[in-house]
């Protein structure tokens, strides 16, 4: 019943880049949607993810999607914080990519 908190740590790819900004936020916690806060954090090059979700039993899928994003993004020393409200894996991936894109563009919404 209570809200779930999932924590993951990923090894970053070789020669990781850092997030162009201190932090970047994207998305709205609507039904079937989520928001993500990417921020720089000194983690010895690793990537840390925290997912807050009302859904149970999808830990493996979260891990896979996040691993894919970490591989794709090529960033290290990164903290990924997600507030989820029943987003599907596809939406999760889209929002993560969006957040990264916004950080690179440096633009606000």
């Amino acid at each position: 019943m209570a809200l779930q908190q999932l924590l993951f740590t990923f090894n970053s790819p070789e020669n990781p880049a850092t997030l162009p900004e201190d932090w970047t936020h994207s998305g709205v916690v609507g039904s079937g949607d989520m928001e993500v806060l990417l921020s720089r954090k000194e983690l010895g090059g690793k990537v840390e993810a925290k997912v807050v979700t009302p859904v149970n039993g999808f830990d493996d899928i979260w891990e896979k999607v996040l691993q894919r994003f970490v591989d794709e993004a090529g960033l290290g020393n990164l903290s990924i914080e997600i507030n989820d409200n029943n987003a599907t894996p596809y939406i999760v991936m889209t929002r993560l990519r969006q957040a990264l894109l916004e950080a690179k563009e440096g633009g606000e919404e």
Binding site: L3, V28, V29, L37, E81, N83
Partner: protein
């Protein structure tokens, strides 16, 4: 092209709270206060297994319009229907406090320079109290009401309603307690939401699946004819912004003429509207439009914006003495 410029053409109805907040003030001036990076999530939702949000569904910040400091409050309807909880409520009240503090400071330093004094703009998208944290939500409503009263004679508080969820419940009261209301045709203001009326009073009283009925009763055009909304604008962020800029260039004494509550005279005026309704027993909003002299009352819902603005006859306003305000 910057997001700000693109956003001016974007639909206000569909825009997120942050998009609205960022694009209502002058380009590049918006600074978010207690933004998502502060991670101020609701302490009540996790125990109920409800999703939380880093901004608790309210975007607050400050920017400027024509060098005037403008505080912005923008509610996010996608997050629990924009309902007001403890954190979001505190953020809203905090913005009012900051605006009042700034008013005192500027007024002390540069007395009588009205166009540099702060203003507050509140973009509503809410169903009222967040039931998961009902007491805190109710308290927030009361506090905001009090802050609006404290702003009287000092800071213009402008309501914007044109978002998807509309503005219902307790926040329906709050929105019309502000100094001036700007709506789009798609905006809706009401107290009890359509679904709730149907639930309690039955489908014969109010059919919540009848979209046309909902817009006729709570929508922008109706509110404009009734003068609950001072201005009706097109559904783009740019149109809302343009109207807002225009309003903020008006003297304070003129802005507050658009108030619908707050004095004995206004109460009497509202009571007269009620008396008129009792006398004429309208069965539908169309009867009201007809009463106020709209010849093509039956066609009003179908009219395009330009035609409506040209033909709409609005409720005549009582002439009133507003010197009372200046004394404060």
């Amino acid at each position: 092209m910057s997001h700000w410029k693109e956003n001016q053409k974007a639909s206000f109805y569909e825009a997120t709270a942050r998009q609205r907040a960022f694009s209502l003030v002058d380009e590049g001036t918006f600074h978010e206060l207690v933004g998502p990076e502060t991670r101020m999530t609701s302490p009540h939702l996790p125990v109920l297994g409800e999703a939380v949000s880093f901004d608790d569904g309210v975007v607050t910040g400050v920017g400027s319009i024509r060098r005037r400091p403008v505080f912005v409050i923008s509610q996010e309807g996608r997050f629990i229907g924009g309902a007001v909880g403890e954190v979001g409520g505190a953020k809203i009240v905090g913005v009012f406090d900051l605006a009042l503090q700034l008013y005192d400071r500027i007024n002390k330093k540069h007395p009588g320079v009205e166009n540099r004094l702060p203003a507050i703009v509140f973009s509503f998208e809410t169903g009222g109290v967040r039931l998961h944290e009902a007491n805190a939500g109710l308290l927030a409503h009361a506090e905001v009401m009090e802050k609006i009263q404290q702003c009287r004679g000092k800071i213009p508080v402008i309501t914007l309603v044109g978002s998807k969820v509309g503005c219902f419940g307790g926040m329906g009261f709050v929105s019309v307690a502000c100094d001036l209301v700007i709506m789009s045709e798609l905006g809706r203001i009401g107290l009890t939401g359509p679904e709730v009326i149907e639930e309690v009073m039955g489908k014969r009283e109010f059919d919540a699946s009848d979209r046309a009925l909902i817009y006729r009763t709570t929508g922008g055009k109706h509110k404009y004819i009734l003068r609950d909304s001072a201005y009706l604008v097109r559904d783009t962020i740019g149109s809302f912004r343009q109207q807002l800029v225009e309003v903020l260039c008006m003297p304070y004494d003129k802005i507050v003429l658009c108030r619908s509550i707050g004095s004995m005279e206004l109460v009497e005026e509202q009571l007269k509207v009620v008396a008129t309704a009792v006398e004429n027993k309208p069965r539908d909003s169309k009867d009201v439009w007809r009463y106020y002299g709209n010849e093509e009352w039956d066609r009003i819902p179908d009219m395009e914006y330009d035609e409506f603005m040209e033909k709409a006859v609005v409720r005549p306003r009582e002439r009133r003495n507003w010197k009372w305000w200046q004394k404060r």
